[in-house]
């Protein structure tokens, strides 16, 4: 049942022009940022060759591309997730879902996976860009896969926050603003710790950016992966709990 709801949700994105326009806009922004980095690297590669331990093609082009993509997703996710449950409630179709033989977890996980499907399509578009670099050089495939994995996990975490806010809020705008608020706080939580040689471990541990950047280096740490998985689980569990409460109040 989860997959049926997920497939329906995924299709609903693509039968509206919104997803296509969004993909076009993101392609232009990320393509521009990618090509700027390519130009920067071609200009400074001669100097880099003479420096011991200098960053390579992957560090200069691919890692910044994925970092930029993370910020873009931070802005886009609230727009993609705000309507997921909220609109069902506003259009009174949530009652139809409640009366169907589906559990709360089926609804939340189905909606979540459907939205995540669209976001992962955009991640694939981002991930395909570095392959064009193979026409003129080599890339560090290990770091590339680390970046890809980091973005997949980050996007999944963003979507889970969006789903919870969409379940709680009465209006899509409120859901979008609150999702953006939570994500930006968790993103910037670590900002004043980055320059400190004795950073607060709790604040660092909660920061999305800290864990994202850790994976991007290519050093896969079990703590970073588990952080993202637990983050997703927490928000999904809370979404299911909120939906269950709403179902009982109907």
């Amino acid at each position: 049942m989860i997959l049926t709801i997920a497939a329906q949700e995924f299709k609903s994105h693509f039968i509206s022009p919104l997803a296509w326009i969004l993909m076009a806009v993101l392609q232009i922004i990320l393509g521009y940022l990618f090509l700027t980095q390519v130009e920067t690297f071609t200009l400074m590669q001669d100097k880099l060759l003479n420096i011991t331990g200098a960053p390579g093609l992957t560090d200069v082009i691919i890692t910044p591309l994925f970092s930029n993509a993370g910020v873009i997703f931070l802005l886009v996710t609230p727009l993609l997730t705000m309507r997921v449950i909220c609109d069902e409630r506003r259009n009174k179709t949530l009652c139809l879902l409640f009366s169907a033989p589906v559990t709360n977890s089926d609804i939340i996980l189905g909606k979540y996976l459907g939205t995540l499907g669209l976001m992962w399509v955009i991640v694939i578009l981002v991930g395909l860009m570095p392959f064009t670099l193979l026409l003129g050089g080599d890339i560090d495939t290990g770091k590339f896969f680390a970046n890809g994995m980091a973005l997949i996990l980050l996007v999944a975490a963003f979507a889970s926050t969006g789903i919870l806010m969409s379940t709680l809020a009465e209006h899509p705008t409120v859901a979008a603003i609150s999702t953006f608020g939570i994500l930006i706080v968790l993103w910037l939580l670590n900002i004043n710790q980055t320059m400190s040689d004795k950073p607060n471990e709790l604040i660092q541990g909660l920061s999305l950016l800290y864990h994202y950047q850790n994976i991007q280096t290519g050093l896969i740490d079990s703590r970073d992966i588990i952080y993202f998985l637990l983050y997703i689980c927490t928000f999904i569990v809370l979404s299911i709990y909120c939906l269950a409460n709403q179902r009982l109040q109907k």
């Binding site: 022009p17 919104l18 076009a24 071609t42 390579g56 080599d138 290990g142 050093l219």
Partner: protein
């Protein structure tokens, strides 16, 4: 009344299940910080110590103390912490202390130091002064504390292999055309077709 009590019971069950799952999540988080597993998947292993460095520290069983004179708030401190953490994976008894040269100017002057940034590596009663600290310089300094001079001559640090990009102007122009015009246009056209199709329905 019956429905209300049933709802209350279901609500209580839901709350209990949610609290239990959240506790389980908190427990998993705590355990994940106790048992850490790391793997460097970068092709050139730039996040790991070289085999030479790993060999050198095996010859040094006693504790190594590093004192770094770096001003507060400098990003170099973070880089040094990251570097020493790589050594700590293989050698637990290695310590790092930061001293702000502004606060301890007497101590710094006593060491006849011309630059503000300086590092002192101590092993047993021996001290080595370094003006620059990276894996290469630190391991070279540690070699001098060992009797392994004959076994390890030179340290070569892990370098990125992807350092050349040969793109012609034509190729860059083609990439610009593809990423900024062709691909977005395809998406917009598809969006418009779908919109038209829905309108005609």
């Amino acid at each position: 009344m019956i429905i209300h009590s049933i709802h209350q019971r279901i609500s209580f069950k839901n709350s209990l299940a949610t609290i239990l799952i959240l506790l389980l999540i908190a427990l998993t988080s705590w355990i994940s910080n106790k048992y850490i597993y790391q793997v460097d998947i970068s092709n050139s292993s730039t996040n790991s110590l070289t085999l030479e460095s790993q060999k050198v520290i095996k010859y040094l069983p006693e504790s190594i103390d590093i004192t770094a004179f770096i001003e507060k708030g400098q990003s170099l401190r973070i880089q040094i912490i990251k570097l020493i953490n790589l050594y700590k994976i293989h050698k637990k008894n290695i310590s790092l202390n930061f001293i702000d040269p502004e606060e301890y100017s007497d101590q710094v002057d006593a060491d006849n130091k011309s630059t503000k940034i300086v590092f002192f590596v101590n092993y047993q009663n021996h001290t080595k002064k370094l003006n620059y600290l990276d894996e290469h310089s630190l391991t070279q300094a540690l070699i001098e504390f060992t009797n392994a001079n004959d076994k390890i001559k030179e340290v070569t640090i892990n370098e990125s292999e992807d350092r050349v990009l040969n793109f012609s102007e034509k190729q860059i122009f083609a990439l610009n055309l593809f990423y900024l015009l062709l691909l977005p246009s395809v998406f917009i056209i598809l969006g418009l077709i779908i919109r038209q199709h829905r309108k005609s329905k």
